[in-house]
């Protein structure tokens, strides 16, 4: 049935919206949907060629109907594909804004895959088809978007555009160190962030580390 595959893609997209990670790219499905479009296009062209100029939609209603249906099916497939890709790129952009890059993403996937045993041989294959749920095109896109965002951010160096969107309440906050993060430099000297220690620091200095999961903010 025309459009079934497209529908599957949309379901994938819908599911993706509620997930915290990005599920694997549906290479096969995307290819098949695109294939369906090409087939339909060929089909309509062949019908139109057969009919030549003599086609009159009013007298030949069956053919007119066929043409309309395939026309709509093609466009619908296109919409499904666009929706699927847009949902995924939106997710990717969100990731870029929150400061992660492709290497991080591949790392997360390995962590998820490792307990199952299946991921044992994927280490060292960062960004490879086997370990990444991104298509190569998506990886390209993410890389280019990172560059774009960096360029845009460059115009606002003093603002830190990717910083927290919570209105600041206190200049200083209590944080607990969840992972060793080494030494950081602040205006008040260097702080050595070792695991499980607790600090009272300026929020602006540690915002990135909180976002990256090294520190936890204590309220």
């Amino acid at each position: 049935m025309y459009g079934d595959l497209g529908n599957k893609l949309v379901q994938h997209a819908k599911r993706t919206q509620n997930l915290t990670h990005l599920p694997p790219y549906q290479t096969e499905l995307v290819r098949n949907v695109a294939h369906e479009v090409r087939d339909l296009d060929k089909y309509t062209k062949s019908i139109l060629e057969q009919l030549g100029d003599s086609f009159d939609p009013n007298t030949d209603q069956a053919t007119a109907c066929t043409l309309t249906v395939s026309h709509l099916a093609m466009r619908r497939n296109k919409r499904c594909l666009l929706a699927y890709h847009r949902t995924r790129t939106d997710k990717l952009e969100e990731l870029v804004w929150s400061g992660s890059d492709i290497a991080d993403l591949a790392g997360q996937q390995q962590q998820r895959a490792a307990p199952g045993g299946a991921g044992a041989n994927v280490s060292g294959m960062n960004g490879d088809g086997a370990s990444s749920s991104l298509s190569p095109q998506e990886e390209d896109y993410m890389r280019q978007y990172s560059d774009l965002l960096a360029a845009y951010k460059g115009q606002w160096t003093d603002i830190d555009l990717t910083g927290s969107l919570e209105p600041p309440r206190d200049l200083f906050i209590d944080v607990r160190v969840l992972k060793d993060a080494g030494e950081i430099q602040t205006e008040y000297g260097a702080i050595n962030l070792t695991k499980n220690s607790q600090f009272y620091v300026r929020q602006g200095d540690v915002e990135r580390l909180i976002a990256q999961g090294y520190l936890q903010k204590l309220s």
Binding site: R31, A34, K78, Y141, L165, P167, L171
Partner: protein, 221 residues
């Protein structure tokens, strides 16, 4: 500063208020309005953000100068300045992010006509154009390239679907009237009109509220 102070600042009688204060008010207004309006508003053209940037820069320098000083008095002043600086930064950041979110959502719409393009700042325009190009390329390399040529566009407006999505201008916003004025609004069944009093708060469709806001009769809240 009270919010009412900000709101009554529309009249140009405010020459007694220093430029810095007025700029902060303008920024706060722009920020509130941008966050509640369903569509992208005009980028403030009078160099507001250049001034704000300069001021943030000078404050950062000041902070750096003062950190060397160990005098408790300076330290206190330092904390006040830094807190203020963080808040200022937050306003700018939040404002810019709200705009970027809108631009990302309806990129093609804002790039489609000159009038809409003029609402973006130069940097935003560059960002939007580049972002759209990236997206299109991504679609092309992912699947569009294998489509029949007449279907490879992303901005078809002919046929049964308009591919350019635009923001819903009829969504509701809250406005506060800044002077007595006649408020007219379109309803589903009947259109309504009422004598608005200065200071009253109304909920309206954005498409109805827009002319009032543009004339300075009302303010988004």
């Amino acid at each position: 500063m009270d919010i009412d102070d900000i709101l009554h600042e529309v009249d140009p009688v405010a020459d007694t208020v220093p430029r810095e204060t007025r700029d902060l008010q303008a920024l706060t207004r722009a920020w509130v309005a941008e966050r509640s309006a369903p569509e992208l508003l005009k980028w403030p053209a009078d160099g507001l953000f250049e001034r704000i940037n300069d001021r943030i820069k000078s404050q950062i320098e000041k902070v750096e100068e003062m950190t060397g000083d160990m005098d408790p008095k300076t330290n206190f002043a330092l904390i006040v300045i830094q807190t203020e600086l963080e808040r200022y930064r937050y306003l700018v950041r939040s404002y810019l992010r709200a705009r970027i979110a809108k631009i990302d959502k309806h990129t093609l719409h804002y790039l489609s006509t000159d009038a809409l393009r003029s609402r973006l700042s130069e940097v935003e325009l560059a960002y939007a154009t580049r972002h759209q190009a990236l997206l299109h390329n991504h679609y092309l390399s992912s699947f569009l390239a294998s489509f029949p040529p007449q279907m490879q566009n992303l901005n078809d407006v002919s046929g049964s679907h308009n591919m350019i999505d635009s923001p819903d201008l009829d969504s509701a916003v809250f406005v506060r009237l800044l002077r007595d004025t006649m408020v007219e609004s379109r309803g589903v069944d009947v259109d309504g009109a009422l004598e608005g009093k200065d200071g009253s708060i109304l909920i309206l469709r954005w498409s109805d509220a827009k002319p009032l806001v543009e004339k300075g009769h009302a303010e988004l809240v």
